[in-house]
Assembly symmetry: C2
Homo-oligomer: 229 residues x 2
């Protein structure tokens, strides 16, 4: 049985592939495995756990924290081509928080052992810089989420506006641009787009050019609650 | 006038100094400046601002967010030898959040231009890996803070316990170990230590071996409020 993966597959998933030496490429080819998981499988739990880097080929992963009372808070979601860094938290000495990562649906994953990735990071500035960008991106997700928690109002206002429009036009399919919503709410287009994309990732909306389709009205009403009162 | 800094000073502040090439060391020596700021000076504001890396020689910096209503939330504090990465947010493409950095007290700062640091990061894996650790450390601070916001209880319980002990012994100087507090509150020593250090950074307590000195009782009472009700 030959478990070795096709280098062409790896080169399409690792953005730093062409900046690796051939020895480093060989190491990745020999040690990366493709794994399959059912929906709802916990892949990483807590900071002491260090199964390695996970790269999503298909499916969806969710990273979240669990409070003392068991309440979950989703930090970010990972889709095709996204890399899960904190399942290999041990490669960074300074990570002291605990997150849980699990599959949302049936998923196919590339797995790189933590030790190997750590070695590549030490040896190769391109890998280290890619990791920096990855972490900055997750950091940005978490900062945005914290902002939402501290200033819940905008999410509620956008949700309330969409419900209002839906009621007004007797349809869950709204024909309007993000710019128009921004103008209605006195906000910026970028801010509205980010919020709508967040709603889409959470399964509340489906976005396409000039069209917003409401998929889950009751969840949207829950978010809008403070603004509808 | 010779503005060039002593390489010995720089080598003591940059942990990656010995892993730089002599050309890279020269670049840092020639382009790093020592700056002085009064208390309350805003050094960085928003993600478009990119003054460069700031390394604290003396004094204190504070990184915080400002809500739409002008409410500040302190993310972390930087003391001697700490490096402020997000004042050079432009070196990372994936940073999309806005923070403000200002001096808490009169501060002496080493300033490295953003472009130069970016170049060193691209060229040198040691610099990139140091940056990774730095970001992971700030990420951990923010995750801890978010946990506090979501689960306010432990902070309130620790504060309430300290006030109770202070009232009981008619003194703002408490003789007890972190272990003892953890046992009283059914928590772990590490968790209590982190909370007490946070209170210390916020100026509420002064910690020394086996002794907790309450410096700001009224702020502590405010934090304890939900637990005292």
């Amino acid at each position: 049985v030959n478990l070795t993966l096709d280098p062409a597959l790896l080169s399409s998933y690792f953005p730093f592939w062409n900046q690796l030496t051939s020895t480093q490429q060989d190491l990745l080819v020999k040690n990366t495995r493709q794994l399959h998981f059912p929906a709802g499988k916990i892949l990483h739990n807590g900071s002491s756990d260090c199964i390695g880097l996970l790269l999503v080929i298909s499916g969806e992963l969710r990273a979240y924290t669990i409070s003392d009372e068991g309440k979950e808070l989703t930090l970010y979601r990972l889709f095709e081509h996204d890399m899960c860094l904190f399942s290999a938290a041990c490669i960074l000495n300074s990570v002291s928080f605990e997150i849980t990562v699990s599959t949302v649906e049936e998923s196919s994953i590339l797995h790189v052992p933590a030790d190997l990735y750590k070695q590549l990071m030490r040896e190769n500035a391109a890998v280290a810089n890619y990791t920096n960008e990855l972490m900055a991106s997750r950091f940005s997700d978490v900062m945005w989420l914290m902002d939402q928690i501290m200033n819940k109002k905008l999410g509620a206002r956008v949700a309330a506006f969409l419900i209002e429009e839906s009621t007004l036009h007797h349809s869950v399919t709204l024909h309007m641009t993000h710019e128009q919503i921004a103008n209605h709410l006195g906000s910026a287009r970028e801010v509205i787009t980010r919020m709508l994309k967040y709603f889409q990732r959470e399964g509340l909306l489906q976005l396409s050019r000039g069209v917003i389709h409401i998929k889950n009205l009751s969840s949207l009403e829950e978010i809008a609650a403070p603004s509808l009162r």
